[in-house]
Amino acid sequence: MKGLIPDFALNIWAGLPPMVQYLVGTTTAILIVTVGVILTVAFSTYFERKVIGSMQARVGPNRVGPLGLGQPFADVIKLLIKEIVVPAQSNKFLFIIAPLLTLIPALAAWAVMPLFPGFVIADINAGLLYVLALTSMGVYGVILAGWATNSKYAFLGAMRSAAQIVAYEIAMGFALVGVLMAGGSLNLGDIVEKQSGGFLNWFLIPLFPLFLVYWISGVAETNRAPFDVAEGESEIVAGFHVEYSGVAFAIFFLAEYANMVLISALTAVFFLGGWASPFEGWTFLQGTPLAFIAAPGFHWLFIKIAFFMYSFFWYRATFPRYRYDQIMRLGWKVFIPVTIIWIAVEGVMAWMQVGPWAGLGT
């Protein structure tokens, strides 16, 4: 770092007032994380098409650039230069602002995400609550888009989506109650620290049912297959974004994928130890080129996120769409009781210090 930046620049930096240093530092961190998320989103569309292509014995995108890696950029440019059609009877202001309202929470939630040891943009104590609050706000964009379009299809999609998100949010919240009981903290960094020291310390093991509930609810929250009734192209064309085109549609798309990356990262942080390495304590690797396997760091979080993103695409290629009443049944009548029972089980087990639950919550 010292060699990279000339001395006079460092001197200027040291001479700045701390407020300015703080502002510049935070803004840079936010920019880096946001651009990283957006690039991840761009390449996950490529990843999705390749994965689903290979599952359906196709090639997938391979024309633009080497291996088709330029495809996301070609898509973005195409969407940017397309015309935005605003329906005549629509509510113009809400129609334009709705895509933004879905994107903002998806990006803002990254503020409390511990990306590697010692790095988080905002190290706040109530990080878990912050994430819950922001993910619950994404629904506004969908509802407003459906209503502002002034179309029956869009409105049906919005209503389906809203009911679904509200239902699964409760199960998600309860699953997170289990995580915070195990972690003894609302700070995501502390929750990760608590799980470091090998995969046997991950919350995945004592909280396995909660992990399943959280992950499946996450898939439902992001409106992805098999829970994508809000789009339901076989019944209601494209649901809430049926009239969106060009950049406005691109922002919906970006928000959907940013939410997927976010849910993947959150599941990794809550249940798979975030940036912690599963093989911590393999001291025989020290000094070898393979030392990074035992070391905690961003690469482990990235691998876990990639695994969950792959799972999203895998489900899309595998499962048929849920029927709407079955989605509601799964959310209200299966997941919520499961989480409530498991919170009680976890509490009793941690109190009696049994098996993998011993030592939780301290």
């Binding site: 104590n125 609050a133 922001l134 509802i143 809203a162």
Partner: protein
């Protein structure tokens, strides 16, 4: 501190503007969105006062859940704006009285009970102070009975609301989902083995 002050006035201005928007917006959906903005701005003001738990819970409960249902209902009903506007004049004195009482309570709480130090700022929290933990510690020890009673009342309200909306209609055809899920292919499809028929 100057930066803090600028932010405070900025957010307060947006808050007041949004609150006026709730009252004066012609479109009920716009009014709901203004209310969401109002909640959000007050959450930010609480954050600046280092009450992060209250701020986040305000967003989580009101913005994330209550207002979504509100928006839902308002979108479904065609609200007659003119009728609502007539109500504005009628209820204005009552609303004004409530506002005066609340302002008086705030003044009493903040200035007269001495929550503010001499130079007009609040006493800062000590280093490492955890708002959430402090609130939880008080809620589950000192006020545990009030807390439990509130929880039971809310549960009762949920049960009552569900019972009120539940009605049994005779001859209603419903699907038994657990039965549907339990169905296996062999219950529905019978494979019949038969010889090839020849033309005769």
């Amino acid at each position: 501190m100057l930066f803090h002050t600028i932010l405070f006035y900025l957010f307060s201005a947006v808050l007041i503007g949004a609150a006026l928007g709730v009252v004066f917006a012609r479109n009920p959906v716009h009014a709901v969105m203004f209310l969401v903005l109002t909640f959000f701005q007050s959450a930010i003001l609480w954050l600046m006062a280092e009450a992060e738990f209250l701020a986040i819970v305000l967003v989580l409960v009101y913005v994330g859940a209550v207002m979504v249902l509100f928006l839902f209902v308002i979108m479904m009903l065609e609200v007659n704006v003119e009728a609502v506007k007539r109500g504005l004049v009628r209820y204005a004195p009552l609303a004004g009285a409530i506002a005066v009482i609340m302002a008086a309570e705030l003044v009493q709480l903040i200035w007269l009970e001495g929550a503010v130090t001499a130079d007009g700022s609040f006493t800062p929290n000590p280093e490492g102070y955890d708002n959430t933990k402090a609130l939880g510690a008080v809620l589950y020890t000192e006020h545990v009975y009030a807390f439990e009673i509130a929880a039971v009342v809310l549960l009762l309200a949920i049960v009552a609301a569900i019972t009120l909306t539940m009605r049994k209609r005779p001859n209603l055809k419903v699907q038994n989902i657990s039965k549907q899920i339990a169905v296996r292919a062999k219950d529905r499809v019978r494979v019949v083995k038969m010889d090839v028929e020849s033309k005769s």
